[in-house]
Symmetry: C2
Subunit: 654 residues, 2 copies
Amino acid sequence: MPGQRKKSADGRSLETLARDRLVIEGIDPAIDGGRFAAKAVEHVPFAIEADIFGDGHEVVAAEIVPDGGSAVRMEKLVNDRWRAEIVFDAIGPARFSIVAWRDVWGTWARDTARKAEAGQDVSVELEEARLLLTGLRAPRADKPAVKALADAAASGDIETLLSEETAALMSRIGPRGNRTTSQSLPVWVDRERAAYSAWYELFPRSLGEEGRHGTFRDVIGHLDYVRDLGFDVLYFPPIHPIGTTNRKGRNNALRAEPDDVGSPYAIGSPEGGMDAVHPELGTMQDFDDLVTAAGGKGLEIALDIALNASPDHPWLKEHPEWFERRPDGSIKFAENPPKKYEDIVNFRYYTETGPNVPFWEAIRDLFLFWIDHGVTIFRVDNPHTKPFPFWEWIIGEVRRTCPEAIFLSEAFTRPKVMKRLAKIGFNQSYTYYTWRNTKAELAEYLTELTTEECRHYMRPNFFTNTPDINPYFNHTSGRPGFRTRAILAGSLSGNWGLYSGFEFCEADWLPPKDEYLHSEKYELKQRDFDAPGNIKDDVRLINRLRAENPAMRDFTNLKFFPAHDDRVLYYGRFDERSRNYLLFHVLIDPHSGGEFAFELPLWEFDLPDDASIEAEDAAHGNRFSWHGKEHTLALDPETRPYAVWKLFPPGGAQ
Amino acid sequence: MPGQRKKSADGRSLETLARDRLVIEGIDPAIDGGRFAAKAVEHVPFAIEADIFGDGHEVVAAEIVPDGGSAVRMEKLVNDRWRAEIVFDAIGPARFSIVAWRDVWGTWARDTARKAEAGQDVSVELEEARLLLTGLRAPRADKPAVKALADAAASGDIETLLSEETAALMSRIGPRGNRTTSQSLPVWVDRERAAYSAWYELFPRSLGEEGRHGTFRDVIGHLDYVRDLGFDVLYFPPIHPIGTTNRKGRNNALRAEPDDVGSPYAIGSPEGGMDAVHPELGTMQDFDDLVTAAGGKGLEIALDIALNASPDHPWLKEHPEWFERRPDGSIKFAENPPKKYEDIVNFRYYTETGPNVPFWEAIRDLFLFWIDHGVTIFRVDNPHTKPFPFWEWIIGEVRRTCPEAIFLSEAFTRPKVMKRLAKIGFNQSYTYYTWRNTKAELAEYLTELTTEECRHYMRPNFFTNTPDINPYFNHTSGRPGFRTRAILAGSLSGNWGLYSGFEFCEADWLPPKDEYLHSEKYELKQRDFDAPGNIKDDVRLINRLRAENPAMRDFTNLKFFPAHDDRVLYYGRFDERSRNYLLFHVLIDPHSGGEFAFELPLWEFDLPDDASIEAEDAAHGNRFSWHGKEHTLALDPETRPYAVWKLFPPGGAQ
């Protein structure tokens, strides 16, 4: 016979184990068991599910308890799955837990009803009810009602005890047996722009005229253009002084000509580093004026934080210990052997003994410096080549001061690395969108992004192109492919963007990779912003549809529907709350069109196959009725490479 | 500008975050994030996988570190997934963690090789190597080799530095940068019988002759019968004194006749309770003798722990506080309203203030009592109607004294409840097998059991029938259906069992439920164990195949193959380690046979479609060659309702 030890094999005592009589498991979202926060948006309902059950047959109830907020009762779905939505009203860190209990009154009522129906004597059950009610500690306002119920129990008024009103009251104030609380789980609550934004990228230096280097003042003059296209974030590659040592020339030439402007990613010169602006762009005051002017037009400025120093960056002299060195004392250049990047030197994130704390603090302070200048959106260059803990700490620190801050991760790398960066805090992520071109590729990738666990922490930002990515698809797609790729990006993701030139169908490439010929990274590129053949109308359309339709704000509401042609991607963005329903038909092949069959998703509205539904051509405005499930549509690369429809199913207007 | 705070938003300090530079996530198995132990078997390789990666492009390495054991290097699969197998050599609790690091030498060697191949000057790299090697703290035995390598670096002998031998040495003793350790995860290591067992269930009281009540001595006389059929666990329903108050009669009649023996699940009489034996079965000494005799024949006795007390159980007087009572002072009978079970009273697991500790301890001591009598296998009756923490604590406590103990959960309830019981410690679980009859149902259910996360903690025990379950399928299947259901149970699960009578195709049922007419729960049932029409040969065959073939010991090695007929389930049990491969064709329809086509899975052995493979009819022993992929086979309910084949692919004998 054993002694009186009361601890389980893993050290949990009887008392600790016994406290959680009910099971709360499979909580979703719970990123890596709560190690990371799921992402929410302020004022937007946030769904939480869990498996909840007890032993035996007693009635169970449960609620979500947000830290510092009001509890929300959960609803039982099937197979012991429960669900509720909560709303966070302030940006910043939040937490929730789930509380479940044995509903003593609910169990009594259910069992007593069954016994009464079977004609059994329930006098002992009535006495149980009376005892329960007289012993109940009810809120003052409910005391008279409870007293009345106790009287009903005493007088055998079973009808009152089993009424819906009594059930509602007792569900609220009745005894909660074996209250069990789940672990507390973290949520990060963002402002809406973290989840819903349209980015336009340009190089300020290209906005001069007739060869003159552009300035922040030129950008101010260009704000109306960007706003007219419907964008709300205006993003610049680095705006800092550019190094001259080993400066790259046009088309990434190893040696620059005297008049070459250099890559803005080789940051730092005697004129300053990452906390300075390139003198040819203007002064810091000019920059501040630009931020203010943009804000006045509903545009936010996003900066590029690229932790690349040119060999001329002031920190090399001020903080030599922040850089990697070779045994011969030379500075260590960036490299991906056998390739070397001799215009960029490596920072030292870790020393032999641990993190290089002063450097980490300096980069945190760099973000805060730009926040002081009115910028709260940061596109972070190549975050995957810097340590994950570095970003997790920086983002946490910056958010403590500025919870509005939004970080976009530019990690074109392996899937799990990309996702990890999102987990540790990046609010938005570049994706593989530019390399997903066929119908099957797009459907598979979007299904992953919108239905797998990553949807809780990784918000895609679909850029059609970047200064580094001139998509293979567009090399040969012609204008129709530019139009459809913009529509796809803007309609498949909550965040999307394009880099200047895409609206003019620029596609000259530098084989063999998907790079631009005459890349703007190495030279000024002055454009005619009214050039014919542009796709500005398409860009305006998708940004208008995004702004006008609530369904465009939650990227996870995507549904694919059957269109019987591999050239046509057919999908819906459906928002049940606002009854806002959009359908998209996009011609994936930019070279051949035709008439194809598709199914109107009547089943989504519980309508029979022969029902009718009101619809509107969202591009052209005409309204009509679609009868039945089977339809055909003609798409053509030149005249109509896509169609967008707004549905008005019966049962209430949007 | 902020102060010098160094904590992240969720309280992790810079130093804490920085410690884990590498990412180790997605560890499998990690049941509920490590809350529960995954199950292993002693001496059987236990596979662990994880996603492991760092920032940047450095070479990463990782190993599994079992607590108190030797580290095992992990192998990189695709997509940043890593894998290794470890072996636990002792039953009981175990833990492991994963350690990953930046392989400094590996990175140097890879990058230097690339530079050398590109014809770049590597003199600084050689100096880096020399410094690294002279600074290395190597084990004494390796010092000369390291010295030689340092000399090679000094003399520019790059070939030696980049050799495979050097790589192997440095992989073992080279510097491990940014060592990152995962959380420690629990494993429960069982003896083999927890995962691989064949159960035979009988009521000892039925083994008398000519109406006489059977005894433990009669069971001793019956051991050879059970052993001859190939079983290794002999399991009895409760063997304790049976109550007389409200005793149930034959066929669950509410009132018993004077000569009715009562249900053994109504435990307890003035003659004793759960720690006593029914006097009509014999004495405790008789029981001990039976346990010893069974052990001598390779059979273990399993007892049924049913926490049901009859109103006559001694504990009602000794420990009235262990029972639920009604307001009128009466004892609370078990019920599922409007049904009442008046021969059974409810234990009180929780009081108003918390767990009923003395009762929990009494039940723990009950298990330990029977362990003292040589029983270490327990079938637990209806565990889902008792609190989960109760079982978790009891199992933990019992295992601390007796890690050999095996608990089989009889929870025919909802899927998540069933799985939770397995998570909290039950070694084996009854399943839905008896209700899965079609090919699609079996394939879907087995795919869940063998491939989803539950495979790490829930070990199925496929019973063909139980005293409570007379399967619907067998009501009309006739003998062919009994044969196939035994073969399926024994070949699809690591653990299987049958309840006495199945081998004689007993199927008389008590409509409307799947219950036996003249249930042995309420009366003696004396059988002719040589009755004609039995299926003992089939039972012997499957138990022999299980004993002879290593592939039958790990239920997760199941593979389904294409047989183009819904009446035929076609699957393999393939063990790569022992090169032991079995194929099963089972006729699911007991009423119609025929010739059907199937594919020999040559692809599993990387063989072309026109290859040949040696095979043996595992039932009849003849050996032959199968040529090519496409084959046909005739199955017939009466003459051949199933076929079993052993494959001998080229490349080494089993």
